[in-house]
Amino acid sequence: MSSGPGEQINALLAQLQQAAAAVELTDLPLLAKMHGWCEQLVDTTGDPAASAPAELRLEITAAAKTLEQLILGEIENAQQELNTLTTRISALDQLWAGIENAPAPAAGNSEHSAPSAAASTPEEIQPCASSVAVPVVEASEPLPGGYASEPLLLAASELEYVKGFVDEAREHLEAIEVAVLEVERSPDHMDKVNDLFRPFHTIKGMAGFLNLRDINCLTHEVETLLDQGRKGQRQITAGLIDLVFDVVDILKVQINEVAAYLPQPHGGVIAQPPVAKMIDKLRRVAAGEEAVSERSGSPPLKTGEKLVAMGVTAPEVVDFALEKQKTTTPEKKTGEILMDLGAATARQVSQATRPAAAESAPKAGSSTVADQSIRIDTLKLDSLVDLVGELVVAQTLVAGHTLIGSDPKLIKDVSQVGKIVRDVQEMAMSMRMIPIGGTFQKMSRLVRDVSRKADKQVELILAGEDTELDKNVIQQIGDPLVHMIRNAVDHGIEGPEDRAAAGKEPVGRVYLSARHQAGNIVIEIRDDGRGLNPQKLTAKAIEKGLIEPSQELTDQQAYALIFAPGFSTAQVISDISGRGVGMDVVRRNIQELRGKIEIQSEIGVGTTFTISLPLTLAIIDGMVVRAGEERFIIPTIVIEQALRPTPNMITTVQQRGQMLSVRGRLIPLIQLGQVFDMDGYINPCEAMVVIAITENREVGIVVNELIGQQQVVIKTLGEKFQHLRGVSGGAILGDGRVGLILEVSGLENVFRSYYQPMLDHSGATDHQGTLASVSNYKAVLN
C-alpha cells in the first residue's frame, strides 16, 4: 500500500471537518464516527514518519475526549461544548496545513490526490505504514489479508499507565460480564446494551492510547457489533452473546499477558495470544458475511421459543411472527403479534413471559451504581489498623492510671477519648470491608457455562450481595464457592428429564446468599436438586475403604463423608467436577478462614451448604487463658465448654496421658507445657479444662485459669515462625504484651505425635469400646 501517514491525516481531517459541519447533538452514530476518526488521527499523528506537530495531536486528543464525553452524556452544557468543538475542529486544518506546507523540503509527491494540499515527504511512505490504521479500520471493509497480529512494544515510560490499564480493564471486564448477563435476560433493553457498550469502549480507548493493538482492535470490532445491536440493525441473539463472552475470555488472557509482562519489563515484546481469527470473524459477522452460530435450547428462551416449547404454537408460526415484527411492526412484542395472529392466547403469552420478568425484576433493584471510592494500598490500611490497635492499648493504659481516679473531669475526658478511639478503630477495620457482590456476580457466569456444558437449565438466584466482609476473606472464599456452585449445578441439579419425572420445574435453581448473623457472615448455597443420599454416601465410603461396613453413621456423619479426600459419588467423571478433589479442599480453605461449613439435605428436595465465616481475618473472638507464666488465646469458635473436672472424671492411661470423661465421651487432655516443651504440669482438678473441637475431634486443654473473653487483633508472627505448630499468630493484650493464639488442630497434631503410641495401645484396655469408635470416627473424618 502506498498511503503514507500524511495522506491518511489529510483524508481523516477532511472527513472529520465535513462531519463537524453537519453533526448534531442527537446524532450519536455520527459523533461516534467522529470519535473513531479522532482516535485514528491520534494514532497516525503519533507516527514519527508523519512529522505531525505536537499541538495538532494534543488538539485532536482533546477533541476525542470531548466527543467521548458528549457521547456518554457526561457534559452538562452539551450544545455549547459541541459548538466550540466544531470550531476547533475546523481550525485543525490550518494547524496541519501550516506545518505541512511550510517546512517540507522534500520533492513534492503529487501522486496523492487528497482534497487539501497533499505534500508528503518520502520518509512518510513506510513499507508497513498501513498497520498504523489497522486497529480502527472500518469493520465493514475487511482487509484483504485479514487482521495481522503484531508483536507489542512498550516504552518504559508507559509502564505506569499500563499497570493502571490492567487494573481498570479487569474491572471493566467484570462489569461487562455482568452487563452481558443482563442483556441476555432482557435483550430488548437498549440501555442495557449501552451499559455493555461503554466498558468495551473505555477499554478500547485506553488500549489505543497505550498502543495495545490487539486489545484495541478486538474491542473495536465488538463495539461495531454492539453498535449495530443498539441501533436495532442486529438482533441481540444468544449466539451474539456467546460471541461476546468469547471475546471477553480472549481479552482476559490478553490482559493477563500484559500484566504478567509488567513485573520484569525488558522493554521488549509481549507475546500475545493470537486474536486475528476472532477479529476476522467479528468483522465478517459485522459485515453480514457470516451468521452467528446459534446454540439450541438456551436457558433464557425468547417468548416465541417458549411458546413453542409449551406446545402452544409451531416454530413456523413464530418465525412468521418474527418476520412480521421485523418488517411491519417492530414496536410490537413477539407475544403481541402472536396474539394478533390468534396463535396464542393472552394467558399463554403471559405465562411464557412471566419467568423472564421475574428474572429481571430483582436485578433492576440491584443495578450497579458507580460508587465513590479511591484505591489505597492494603499495606497502608494494615498499618493503620496496627496503629489504631496500639492507640487503643495506650488509651487503656492511660485510663487505668492511678492518678486519673482522683479527678472527675479527667475521668470524663479520658473516657470520651476512649470512645473516640474505639470509633476510629471500628472505622479503620471497616475500610477493609468490601461487598461480596463482585464474587457472587462471577458465579453467574460460572453457572451459565457449567449448565450449558452439563446440558441443564439452571438459574442462579443471588441475595445479600451488599453484605460486606474483609477483602482477604472475599479473595479466599472465591475458589471454594466456585467448587461448590459447580457441584450444585453438576451433581445437585438433575437433568431436565429427571426433573420432569420428579414433577419439578425444568429450570433448576441454585440460591446463593450472604447475610450477617451473630457477628459472622453466613453464606448459603442451596439447590433444589436431588439431595444427598446418606445410604449411597455410606455405601460409597465402604467401597472406598474409608469406613468399616459395620459402622452406623447418622445422616450428618454421612453428609460429612463428601469432605473426605478422594471421595466422589459421581458415576461419570465429567470435565467439570467429580474427580473427588474439591470438597476436601473446600473444607480446608474454609477452616483456614476460621469458618465452619454445615450441610442440610433432603432427598429429592435439595441440599443446603451453610458456611459461616468471621467478618474479618484480622480480628477474632478469643478466650484469654493462663498456663504457667504465659497467656494464650483460644479462638472462641472452637471452644465447646470449659469446666473444672473432679478427680473421678480423670482417667490416667499408663501413667502418662490423661483422659477426661464428660457425658460418656473420653477426651484426651493436652498439657500445654508438654506439647510446647515448657515447664509446668497443671493438675486439671485444680485448674480448668477448655474443651475445644477441631475437625470433629474433641480435645481438652488444661489451663491454670480463664482470664476472660475479648476480641483480639491477629498479628502474624512473620515468616520465620511460619512452621510453628499449634500457634496461629500473636495478639496484643490489654497490657501491651503479646499473647499467642492457639491453633487447636495443629496443637492436636503435635499432641498426637507425642501420644499416638499410647492411644493405639490403650485400645486394648478397659475403654476398648469407646476408644475403638473414637479412632474409627477419626478414620471417617480425617
Binding site: D677, M678, L717, K720, L724, I732, V738
Partner: protein, 164 residues
C-alpha cells in the same frame, strides 16, 4: 604473601564497607552494626515465649502494634547468658523483616572509613567467622563488624523437630 599485596587485598575488600556503625557490647567484646540496618533501640521489655524454637530465640515483642521476633545474641554466639538489667537493650534491625536483638549495652556510633577496616580474620575451625564483615579499627580499639543479615537470616527460628 608480601606486605604490599596484603594491603592491596584488604583495601580492595573493605573500602566499600566504610560508613557509620552502631557499636554495642556483648560479653566484654565490642561489636559494630551498620547503622543503615538499625531501625531503633529500645530498652529490654516483656518478651512472650514462643514454643518449638531454638534457645537463641527469646520470643516475640509488641513493637507499636507489630509483633516481631527477638533473639538473644549472647546465646546465638554461644556466650554465657546473663540476667537482663537496665543496661540491656533490644536493637531492632531491618533484615527484610524487623528483628530485635538483645545486647548487653549500646555504646556509640562510629564513622569508620573503609581504610580502617580489615577483612575478617581466619581463626581456627571452631570459630565461625561468616557473620563477620570485617574488623574496624577506631583509635586503639578493634570493633567486630557484624553482617547482621547473615546472623539472622540463615537460621530457621523454628526447630526442625516441630515441623515434622
Amino acid at each position: 604473601m608480601s606486605h604490599a599485596t596484603q594491603d592491596l587485598v584488604s583495601s580492595n575488600v573493605c573500602s566499600e564497607l566504610g560508613g557509620k556503625y552502631l557499636t554495642f557490647m556483648l560479653d566484654n567484646e565490642e561489636y559494630g552494626l551498620a547503622i543503615l540496618k538499625v531501625r531503633e533501640i529500645i530498652g529490654i521489655m516483656d518478651i512472650t515465649n514462643v514454643p518449638q524454637t531454638p534457645d537463641f530465640v527469646e520470643g516475640v515483642i509488641n513493637l507499636r502494634g507489630k509483633v516481631i521476633p527477638v533473639i538473644d545474641l549472647r546465646t546465638k554466639f554461644g556466650l554465657p547468658r546473663t540476667e537482663y538489667n537496665d543496661q540491656t537493650c533490644i536493637i531492632v534491625v531491618d533484615v527484610g523483616m524487623l528483628v530485635g536483638i538483645i545486647v548487653d549495652t549500646v555504646r556509640e556510633v562510629h564513622d569508620i572509613p573503609g581504610g580502617d577496616i580489615e577483612p575478617a580474620p581466619q581463626l581456627g575451625g571452631s570459630i565461625n567467622t561468616d557473620f563477620i564483615l570485617g574488623m574496624g579499627k577506631v583509635k586503639d580499639e578493634v570493633k567486630i563488624l557484624l553482617d547482621i543479615d547473615k546472623v539472622l537470616v540463615t537460621d530457621e527460628f523454628v526447630q526442625a523437630a516441630a515441623t515434622l
